[in-house]
Amino acid sequence: MSLKSIAKAELLIHLWWLKNNRPLLVLWFLWPYLTALFILALGTAYGRIEEFRETMGIASPILYIFVGSAVVFASASIVDIATGIALWHRWIGTLTYIYLVPVRFNTYLVLSGVVGGLFMIVQNFAAIVPAIIILEGLSGGLRLLAVLGVMILGMVPLIGVAVVAAILTIAARVETNVVSFINPLLLLVSGIFYPVEILPRILRVLSDIVPVTYIVESAKLIATYAYPPGSTIVYIAAILATMALVYNSWSALIVSRSERYIRRRGTI
């Protein structure tokens, strides 16, 4: 059984789905711009764009806003995507046939979540690249590419959490994406809308253990410096790697127990 062929199948299903749903294709390209407008509206609630720049501590508000919209959509959404895909399969009746794929179910969930997450990141970037190049020139486009790398890295610690969320949603037979509440919370504590420093103490603690916070920090660095300080990048990468190790080990433990529970209860 080739893991590559499962990943390929997952990629193709997204492409075919878009090909056969043209209105959705248009909408997906509009969403990042709508989110950018939302962040801008929240940011300029302080007053002028200069005040937003000062408050957030960034050099290029335009780049930051677009990068922020990509972060909003992609980085945190792997949890939402993995659960959403599992629920989608259940609703259309394909879940049983997915379960019959001769690999462990959690392997499938990891692959489908990662491919779905990457697809969303790439799709968001494809949507905002033209705007960034027009507004910030080629260097803006290159900086965006750097953020893309950080975002993909930032997705890794959340893979295990995403699989746990997906498998628990199936096990609990809750026919709705109950984890969708996590995304707004993650974004609030990540510092994408307002600086982490002005958040209440409890949210600041939460902010420290959420990978998205470090993605947002990277986005700020890239939007501020032509060449971000190397030590800061190493620090961020080390934190994300530690989070990936800790979160994914715990997740693997929970998932292996949950899979058995699913088969005993027949919740597939």
Binding site: I6, I13, N20, G93, G266
Partner: protein, 344 residues
């Protein structure tokens, strides 16, 4: 154990419970026995029919064999592998069809759907292309235009063929099909049955669940009658019919109240100690009574009179040789009176 694993499919004392929760503020939890020690064996290269009414335990059995569900006790083997200890090995050797209407991506064409599942099941690009084309041809999907049609635009017959095509993607030796002709029009159902016979002649082993007596009788080499979570009889359709060789089947086709016909069925069963069953078929209500040969003619006259007295119109009445349906009626004492038996 060895003999169990040498069969294509073997179920050994399968037990499965469900917990049914009712109520919100003061929930009550009830234990429901879906399977109560189901045992049977399917040899290689035959069609085995698991026959029973809705809720008898057919789908639960198929789900256990397909590794989707673990039994509470007992064990099952498919193609020599344990469904609980070696589920991945079992999955490599089975093709499954659980529902005709669902289970595909609505906005994808038949061909796209098959390619997606083929890739998931690990077929290499070259093999996948060839296999999809082969199956599109074999199941007549091209002829119907179903290969290019989105799943949401397909008729039920096309969906059934597509479901069977998916089950065959890996070219598995064992097929597990849960009511593959349910809801299909007669030509589509006939097509599927003919195809299943062809597949068996090519060496496949097929387990098919059905509540259609005609299907079980004409399609299956062996039949297991499942009732309330237990296999109550097993054998070839001919062997099973021998069980009621000393009986005849009285058939009354009636027009009128279904409820009154049910009452008539209960009356004749209690009065004459016979088994009877009421079903709706071809816009009429059928009352079937299985009785001893010696008394059947007399009982027919009694029944016709009783039906007329109750305001029912008798459009046909006859005595005939018993069918598999009569075996089922005799074994289950009429079973649960169901409107759902349909002949196609």
């Amino acid at each position: 154990m060895d003999s169990l694993s040498s069969s294509a499919i073997a179920a050994n004392k399968l037990v499965k419970y469900y917990w049914e929760k009712k109520g919100f503020l003061k929930p009550t939890i009830k234990k429901v026995e879906a399977l109560r020690g189901v045992s049977f064996r399917v040899e290689w290269g035959i069609i085995y029919g698991l026959l029973g009414p809705n809720g008898a335990g057919k789908t639960t059995t198929v789900k256990i064999l397909a590794t989707l569900l673990e039994p509470d006790s007992g064990e099952a083997f498919v193609a020599g592998y344990s469904t609980t200890r070696e589920p991945l090995e079992v999955r490599k050797r089975i093709g499954v069809m659980l529902s005709v209407e669902r289970g595909f991506f609505w906005r994808l064409t038949g061909r796209e759907n098959l390619k997606y599942f083929g890739m998931l099941y690990g077929l290499s690009s070259r093999v996948l292309e060839e296999r999809v084309e082969e199956l599109i041809e074999l199941l007549g999907l091209r002829e119907l235009g179903a290969d290019k049609k989105k799943f949401e635009d397909m008729s039920l017959g096309m969906k059934a063929r597509l479901g069977l095509a998916r089950a065959l993607l890996k070219d598995p030796p064992v097929l597990l099909l849960d009511e593959p002709t349910l809801g299909l029009d007669p030509p589509s159902a006939r097509y599927i049955r003919r195809l299943l016979r062809e597949l068996v002649s090519q060496g496949k082993t097929i387990l098919v669940t059905t509540h259609n007596m005609f299907e079980a009788e004409t399609l299956c080499d062996r039949v297991g009658i499942i009732h309330r979570g237990e296999i109550i009889a097993e054998g070839s359709p001919r062997e099973l019919k021998k069980r009621v060789a000393k009986k005849l089947s009285i058939l009354l086709r009636l027009v009128g109240s279904y409820r009154v016909t049910e009452e008539l069925s209960r009356w004749v069963s209690s009065r004459n100690s016979v088994s009877s069953r009421v079903v709706e078929r071809d816009r009429a209500i059928e009352l079937r009574v299985v009785a001893d040969r010696a008394e059947s003619e007399q009982l027919l006259a009694v029944l016709v009179k009783a039906a007329v007295d109750r305001g029912l119109k008798v459009i046909e009445s006859r005595v005939e040789e018993p069918t598999l349906e009569d075996v089922f009626i005799e074994l289950t004492g009429g079973g649960s009176v169901s409107k759902e038996y349909s002949e196609s």
